[in-house]
């Protein structure tokens, strides 16, 4: 059944009228990337990121000659990114418009299904955990940059980053001091309790 369908598709493809450009390009420099389809995209549509100079006919001829892929029709669109600031910093830097990107969706004669994406558990080879941590940190920094006047409360900071080591140590020392009445933290031997001595002098005078 399946092989019959494939054979039928192939015979249908062979009967297609083929017309290609006459200009021969021997050493093309174009880089064409094949993009994963959107979740509801049908399997006969393939998306490609192409150079700006490419046109629909270029992609059709390129795919046929270089990859032996038959294309029935091509749709093209250009993504214009929003303006950004130089240096990537939210404040400062001149405004500029990043270069637009061109994408093309080819209608394939033979459908193509992408393999499943790599699950989260199998991304150790890419150091996914530490990468994710850095990305989250960047995201938070960006959010802070958007509202420079907003200084987060300590409890909010601790909710995001956890309690700092210094505060934990200080808490332990304070607890110990309250229990024993003696300071054992830094500079422990150098301190003298002024009030205590004053009291002693008063007692002596009396």
């Amino acid at each position: 059944m399946a092989s019959q369908a494939v054979a039928a598709a192939e015979t249908a493809i062979k009967e297609l009228p083929r017309r290609f450009g006459t200009k021969q390009v021997f050493l093309p420099k174009a880089v064409v990337a094949f993009l994963r389809p959107k979740p509801k995209q049908p399997p006969n549509l393939a998306t490609f990121a192409v150079p700006m100079e490419f046109n629909k006919l270029d992609l059709r001829d390129y795919l046929y000659h270089a990859y032996n892929v038959e294309v029935l029709s091509v749709r093209a669109y250009i993504q214009q990114p929003p303006p950004e600031r130089r240096g990537g910093a939210p404040q400062g830097g001149r405004w500029y418009r990043p270069k637009s990107k061109k994408f093309m969706i080819a209608e394939l004669a033979k459908p193509f299904v992408w393999p499943e994406p790599v699950p989260e558990s199998d991304r150790e080879a890419f150091d996914h955990k530490i990468w994710q941590k850095i990305e989250d940190h960047k995201e938070r920094a960006n959010q802070r940059g958007e509202k420079p006047g907003h200084i987060p409360l300590r409890k909010d900071e601790e909710r995001e980053y956890g309690v700092s080591r210094e505060r934990e140590v200080l808490k332990e020392l304070a607890k110990e001091y309250l229990e024993s009445g003696e300071w054992k933290g830094p500079n422990s031997g150098k301190w003298t309790e002024v009030e205590k001595e004053l009291d002693a002098e008063k007692k002596q005078a009396a």
């Binding site: 993009l35 994963r36 270089a66 890419f126």
Partner: protein, 269 residues
């Protein structure tokens, strides 16, 4: 005016006679044989099919469910015929998609399970071809190597998009290194070809001045004057006449991309 005159006279007596004929029962007729519907063959318009989940329209209002404020249309798509419209099939119940295992688009991936190379795999590559190495290669070899490089760059670009879209993690720097090395090879190929072009230009200039070389295209291109070279030249000329024919027969179309079998030996990267 003429038509009523032409009509046969129909008196009250005649009418009563017809009624008498119809009403006088000659034999009892079974109720199932009596005609209940009209003889029209067109479908009944009023008795419409009801869609699954359609609301009961109690007040028989035609514009029930339409909102002028929200610009909504009728709730149910209505067709002229009473045949039920096809309902969308959920994605899970669709038949499996038949694909070609040798689809050309697989060439955009490093492997079929995981499209993206890990940084470790990406960094396992050799150096680029040097200009000196490529000087000894033929045009066909260089052309094949160029296409190997082009496809490798496409694979790298595809992996870059996939890594970014799926948020896989690190590996961008390793991919960039790999890409740089491929670019170096491509640059070397262009360097060699440019050199060859300059050499050819110089050779043409020299040949114009050389009395032994015939550039008109008629007769032998090279006729050595020295008698010692003559014997060799006769053999060489005989060879020279044969070789181009054989070349024309076997050499591939320059526009076509070299086959994958020969590219397997060529790549270094």
């Amino acid at each position: 005016m003429a038509a009523p005159a032409m009509r046969p006279p129909l008196s009250m007596g005649g009418l009563s006679r017809i009624r008498m004929m119809a009403s006088t029962p000659t034999a009892p007729i079974h109720p199932s044989f009596t005609q209940r519907a009209s003889l029209s063959t067109s479908s009944v318009l009023l008795k419409r099919h009801k869609y699954v989940g359609a609301r009961d329209n109690r007040d028989h209002s035609k514009s029930r469910g339409e909102s002028a404020m929200r610009g909504t249309g009728t709730r149910w798509r209505l067709s002229m015929s009473d045949e039920p419209l096809p309902r969308p099939v959920p994605r899970e119940k669709l038949p499996p998609i038949v694909t070609d295992p040798d689809h050309g688009l697989w060439e955009f991936f490093y492997n079929r399970e995981r499209i993206v190379n890990t940084p470790e795999e990406d960094s396992k590559h050799g150096r680029a071809w040097s200009v000196e190495e490529l000087r000894h290669k033929s045009w066909d070899d260089l052309h094949r190597l160029w296409w190997v490089c082009v496809k490798e760059r496409n694979r790298i670009a595809t992996a870059n998009f996939e890594r970014e879209n799926q948020k896989l993690g690190f590996g961008e720097a390793e991919a960039a290194e790999r890409d740089k090395e491929v670019l170096k090879t491509m640059r070397a190929i262009r360097h060699v070809l440019t050199e060859r072009f300059y050499l050819w230009e110089d050779a043409v200039e020299l040949a114009k001045k050389d009395p032994e070389v015939n550039l008109t295209g008629e007769g032998p291109a090279f006729t050595p004057k020295d008698y010692l070279e003559e014997a060799d030249a006769v053999e060489g000329a005989a060879d020279a006449t044969k070789v181009p024919e054989a070349d024309a027969a076997t050499s591939p179309d320059p526009a076509a991309i070299p086959s994958a079998t020969s590219t397997a030996e060529a790549p270094r990267l």
